[in-house]
Symmetry: C2
Subunit: 250 residues, 2 copies
């Protein structure tokens, strides 16, 4: 059992896993913990799809741009906004559900994301390693097909899980003052941006990153290489279509 503060302050995302499997009982215990998370009106409008099958992982991999954690991790969990189960219950109980709208998608996505983060903290407290895979919302349409998600269900995030086989360097964070605002939002000046981003920009790994990508600034690595406007626009259209197709834009 890890020290408490360490779980939060010394955590790293883990992308390399040992061959040791994650036991069924442990996985179930962690899922039970995740499922005690608060949800809107205690509706629990989310589902978790567990992928352990090698073939299924290989099927999922391209939807996550073949990030190797998907096939290398013993367990992949896809957290989904899910009003399908709740709607079915309503209809079986002579109640007409009104959850085919954008607010309901946001409600269900919130339930799913809060449960996923509880899962991660619980897993890390047991010494397991996790990595969030942000590509779930890029290729939700493909993941829906592979995991056979019905109308009312949209995948919102994925985590890979296993016993760590690496101890990566701790990544940087902005100073806390950059994130918090007292009473009202204090908008950023050029000076405060300089102050808050200086440590991040000065790190050896950041400088290396800029050099490798032939850019002038670290920000350009984000805008021109990692998270480009054209890609964001493209995947926004796909995601909005998924919302329509899955019945959240009536």
């Amino acid at each position: 059992m890890k020290e408490f503060s360490d779980i939060f302050l010394e955590r790293r995302s883990i992308r390399k896993y040992s061959s040791k499997e994650v036991g069924e009982t442990l996985l179930n215990d962690l899922l039970m913990m995740a499922c005690r998370t608060s949800t809107t009106g205690n509706m629990q409008v989310y589902s978790i799809v567990i992928t352990k099958d090698e073939g299924k992982k290989r099927e999922l991999a391209p939807s996550h741009f073949n990030q190797k954690m998907i096939t290398e991790a013993p367990v992949v969990l896809t957290f989904c906004a899910d009003f399908n189960r709740f709607n079915k219950w309503c209809r079986l109980r002579n109640a007409e559900p009104g959850y085919d709208n954008f607010l309901s998608f946001v409600t269900a996505a919130t339930d799913a994301l809060l449960a996923s983060q509880t899962f991660c903290v619980a897993a890390e407290s047991k010494g397991l390693g996790i990595c969030y895979i942000g590509t779930t919302t890029y290729n939700a349409d493909k993941i829906i097909e592979i995991l056979k998600l019905p109308k009312g269900v949209i995948p919102v995030t994925t985590i890979t899980l296993g016993w760590p086989a690496e101890k990566p360097e701790k990544t940087d964070r902005l100073p806390l003052e950059a994130i918090i605002h007292n009473e009202t939002y204090c908008d950023y000046t050029d000076e405060s941006i300089e102050l808050y981003y200086s440590e991040k920009e000065g790190r050896a790994d950041s400088l290396q990153f800029v050099k490798e990508n032939n850019k002038d600034t670290l920000a350009q690595v984000f805008t021109d290489v990692r998270y480009k406007k054209a890609d964001n626009n493209h995947f926004s259209q796909i995601l909005l279509k998924v919302l329509r197709d899955q019945g959240f834009m009536e």
Copy 2:
């Protein structure tokens, strides 16, 4: 310090708080822990607005339908999707941000929600009580005004925080089998819905709830009283307008 499994399995949302204040150092420590949470590309595209001022709480209360926790809790935290800070950094570094789209809103909202849940687990591990306030996405437009959130910033969830002055009954949860799916989504039959919802429906508090609301079934309390189609449609339109106004639908 609480027992580990208790933090996850024995937690309750807390809606009544003692008059004891939440110390500045403790609050900062918890925020530091929350800010180690994974974010997309380590961009940290979220902000946290801290409300302690009584006047500000009273201003916020109507946006949360006057739920008493807002004015009674010593601390209210509003977690916001925030690309404003990142965009300002990009522009200062000769990089053109492409984050004025729906995918970027979802990315930023995810960052905010995962951080909020880490905060809650950390707070509960110290014996504090929290309650999520789901109304943030209903009245995001009003909250934006009150907290002076600029373009690029949208509030996505709120928590109230304080030392517990109640020990409420543990609420129910669906059995784990209702939430998880192995390899592919196993759609629900009438029989599985009956099975999964029977405990919830049979509870004394559920039966009381149905009776108080003059309904025939618990599901009808949700569809006809608590989360109505007309309200959901109304607030969906407001939320989509907020996304446009705050620059996430270009």
